[in-house]
């Protein structure tokens, strides 16, 4: 008997059938991967399981018993836990407080003791839990000081502490470093060995093939196929997901770099707390080439891109665009001079989530013709027409151009940003984590767009935590570590091992590389 069974689940949103008669089950002790394009309905299905949405049709069975789930709290009481892509943690609280929050059970009948938060016994229970699952963490550190991978560990501990038997991970690896991903898959094995069931959603098919026992492909709200890992291949899954063959390879001809477009010199910057985030960094990008910045996240990549895209507070250094010093220019001046920016955090910096797609598509150019008339009124028709044609050109899945941006799936939101930035005809494209959370078909599409930009003679600066992405797109790879470029290599000489080595902070590579 499966641990969990969802039967004939249907969920309709205005204009979209997100789940269309979906049946899905999970055995104890297995990792069941759920894959599909952006907007296929994976997150929706899991949100139904977690009680965030009620299904329009269909039933949920736990250990063979039909049940209904009224909300997240109720879900966890029934043994279902979810690790959200955006962590549900209180950043200023310690790890311990985050784990016990809401679950500080009364153990004694005495009133004062019932009110008092006795952390000692809870701490002991958690310590035991950490040891059993090899999820050691410092319980007294505030969560905001921890790397993402450790924050995720805290989320897992939260679920285990509440006795979860089914653990749902929605794109858990999108923000992790390769080492952290390795740690997570160890945790998966640890948990399944204890008889727990894991649902794993990911766009990275290599990972899926590595950790999953079974794989279910969902396309446009419908289950296409459920297959065991044995015999599954990347190409087969991709084809099922998209409904047509996917190349999985980008045709990326060797660059012919022309004149220098971007040059940064001796950039030095510190963060709020005074810690160095960029130290004496210099870099140049030429027209017609893609420079890839590899590195573990948090080594200054975010700040580097920000100092180029906007006027950031820096201690020293200069930024030049086509030989002109733009260090003191503001964002609008920079954008008008031809800098386009795909930001790493699309929710915070990329989109106005409650605005329509059409408005989002013209952001940055909303104040200029053809989108405004002679005395400044907005030309709604022109905006909508532009949006409609862009939606078609970039294959954005949406009911229409007036849909608010927040109603789109993650990958489609990313496409909106890319469409907007590319259609601005930039001379320099800054792309930060451009395919994070994006499905394989759309990833291929975005890769093509980036390569196309290069072939059109634009300069591209790409930042990614995904080494495969860096290696398949870049003409030149720079490795950033602690605010410096510690290694630079041309594409044809780059090896994954060597780059990974420098990403971890090695001072000198092997001499016999």
């Amino acid at each position: 008997m499966p641990l969990l069974r969802m039967e004939n689940i249907t969920k309709v949103f205005p204009g979209v059938v997100a789940n269309d008669g979906v049946s899905f089950d999970l055995q104890a002790g297995e990792v069941h991967a759920l894959v599909g394009e952006n907007g296929a309905g994976k997150t929706t299905l899991m949100k139904i399981l977690y009680g965030l949405y009620g299904p329009d049709k269909g039933g949920i069975f736990i250990n063979g018993q039909e049940t209904s789930i009224s909300g997240p709290r109720n879900a966890i009481d029934q043994g279902i836990g979810m690790v959200h892509q955006h962590f549900m943690l209180v950043p200023v609280f310690s790890v311990l407080d985050n784990i016990i929050l809401g679950e500080e059970r009364e153990s004694t009948p005495k009133l004062l003791q019932r009110l008092y938060l006795d952390k000692r016994s809870l701490r002991a229970r958690i310590a035991e839990l950490m040891e059993r699952n090899h999820l050691e963490t410092d319980l007294d550190r505030p969560v905001r000081e921890l790397p993402v991978g450790v924050q995720q560990r805290v989320e897992i501990l939260k679920l285990l502490f509440r006795g979860a038997e089914v653990l749902v991970f929605d794109e858990p690896t999108a923000v992790l470093t390769p080492q952290e991903i390795e740690g997570l898959s160890r945790t998966f094995r640890e948990l399944t060995a204890q008889g727990k069931g894991i649902v794993f959603i990911s766009h990275k098919l290599d990972e899926v093939l590595q950790v999953a026992d079974r794989i279910t492909v969902i396309r446009r709200g419908k289950i296409i196929e459920t297959m065991p890992r044995e015999g599954a291949t990347k190409a087969k899954i991709a084809d099922l997901m998209v409904g047509k063959p996917v190349l999985l390879k980008v045709d990326n001809p060797q660059a012919e770099p022309k004149e220098e477009v971007l040059r940064v010199e001796h950039l030095t910057a510190a963060d709020d707390r005074g810690a160095m985030v960029l130290s004496d960094l210099s870099l140049a990008v030429h027209a017609g080439e893609i420079v890839g910045i590899a590195g573990v996240e948090g080594n200054g990549q975010t700040e580097l891109i920000r100092t180029i895209a906007e006027r950031e507070k820096i201690i020293s250094g200069e930024v030049y665009l086509k030989g002109e010093n733009i260090t003191s220019w503001d964002v609008r001046e920079r954008r008008e001079a031809g800098i386009a920016h795909i930001p790493e955090d699309r929710h915070r910096y990329g989109l106005l989530l409650s605005f329509s797609l059409a408005d989002n598509m013209v952001l940055g150019r909303h104040h200029r013709p053809p989108f405004v008339g002679p005395i400044g009124w907005r030309k709604t028709k022109a905006i909508r027409e532009f949006a409609r044609s862009t939606i078609a050109a970039y294959d954005i899945r949406t009911p229409g151009e007036t849909t608010p941006a927040h109603a789109l799936s993650g990958g489609n939101q990313q496409k909106v940003i890319i469409a907007r930035e590319m259609s601005a005809d930039p001379i320099l494209l800054l792309a930060s984590q451009p395919t994070r959370g994006v499905d394989i078909g759309a990833t291929e599409f975005i890769y093509k767009q980036i390569v196309e930009a290069k072939l059109q003679g634009r300069a591209v600066l790409l930042v990614s935590a995904d080494l495969d992405e860096i290696l398949s797109l870049s003409d030149r790879v720079c490795v950033m570590y602690k605010g410096k470029i510690v290694y630079e290599v041309a594409r044809d000489q780059a090896t994954k091992e060597q780059i990974g080595f420098y990403m971890m902070g090695a001072e000198h590579g092997d001499d016999n590389e």
Binding site: P72, V90, D97, E104, L117, H406
Partner: protein, 289 residues
């Protein structure tokens, strides 16, 4: 009385209403609700304490009235901002304006004059020469600290001010926690009234202490002990003015500005970037957007 001792105890009397109110501010903001209505709530609790004492013939009766008045006024703020999700600043301003009218209206109807009440002799007993309620500040501060940081209730309350969505998914009743925090700030305003001037109510008698209390709360970085310490700083600056005004050869108006100037300077220079609870001021809607 020895001048130094006098300075210490008078300072405590002057500081403690600010300190109680700043604790009220801490309770409210820790659960995510900005409460600039402290000023107005205090104005009503100061009326209620005199009214209650006069009509029941006992100070405790006055305290009871004040607590009820504080909870009712804070309750209005809670309903408006938590249930109806109106902007918290707007609601606070409205309550401050309303409170002026409420005080005058009640005074006119009960005592036949709208700007002041009769004298009340049912005041708290004295301890070491001052109103005992000023001393009560010390155990109350410790209690607030204990409640916020050492109880389950406190943990939940703080979580709601930081990340209500996370708290909600963990089964914490966000709305209940926010109501608790705001209503407790009303109770703190009632305590402020016990020291402020329990022997008579005069319109406008809070004189901006509610706002000073908010400054103290920020200066104290939303921590109860910090907020009380900051309140003492402001209060003692004022005490210094009251006691030595006439000995200082500069115009009284300048000296009277002292606590306010101090508040502004301190906030501008020393607080730097003060981070309050992350979700403060944002109404909580289930399911985002």
């Amino acid at each position: 009385m020895d001048v130094f001792f006098e300075f210490v105890v008078r300072g405590l009397v002057i500081s403690s209403p600010i300190a109680f109110a700043s604790l009220g501010g801490v309770f409210s903001e820790k659960c995510g609700i900005i409460n600039i209505a402290l000023e107005g709530i205090m104005l009503v609790t100061t009326f209620a304490i005199v009214w209650g004492a006069l009509s029941t013939g006992s100070f405790l009766g006055g305290l009871l009235f004040a607590i009820i008045a504080g909870v009712v006024m804070a309750g209005i703020h809670a309903v408006v901002t938590i249930t109806f999700k109106v902007d918290q600043i707007v609601s606070g301003v409205a309550i401050n304006l309303l409170a002026v009218g409420v005080g005058r209206f009640l005074s006119q109807n009960i005592y036949g004059q709208e700007t002041q009440s009769p004298f009340n002799t049912f005041v708290p007993p004295e301890f070491l020469g001052i109103n005992i309620m000023a001393w009560i500040l010390i155990p109350v501060t410790a209690l607030v600290w204990f409640v916020l940081f050492k109880t389950k209730f406190g943990l939940r309350l703080r979580s709601v001010g930081e990340n209500p969505e996370a708290a909600d998914t963990l089964g914490i009743n966000v709305i209940l926690m926010q109501y608790s925090g705001v209503l407790l700030s009303g109770v703190m305003c009632a305590l402020a009234a016990t020291v402020l001037f329990p022997s008579q109510w005069v319109t406008g008698m809070t004189g901006g202490r509610g706002y000073i209390a908010l400054a103290a709360m920020i200066f104290g970085r939303w921590h109860p002990v910090g907020a009380v310490a900051a309140s003492l700083l402001f209060g003692y600056a004022d005490t210094f003015r009251v006691m030595f005004e006439r000995q200082i050869p500069i115009p009284a108006q300048f000296v009277q500005m002292l606590p306010y100037v101090l508040a502004v300077v301190v906030l501008a220079l020393f607080v730097g970037r003060a981070y309050g609870p992350a979700a403060v001021g944002k109404p909580y809607r289930k399911g985002g957007e």
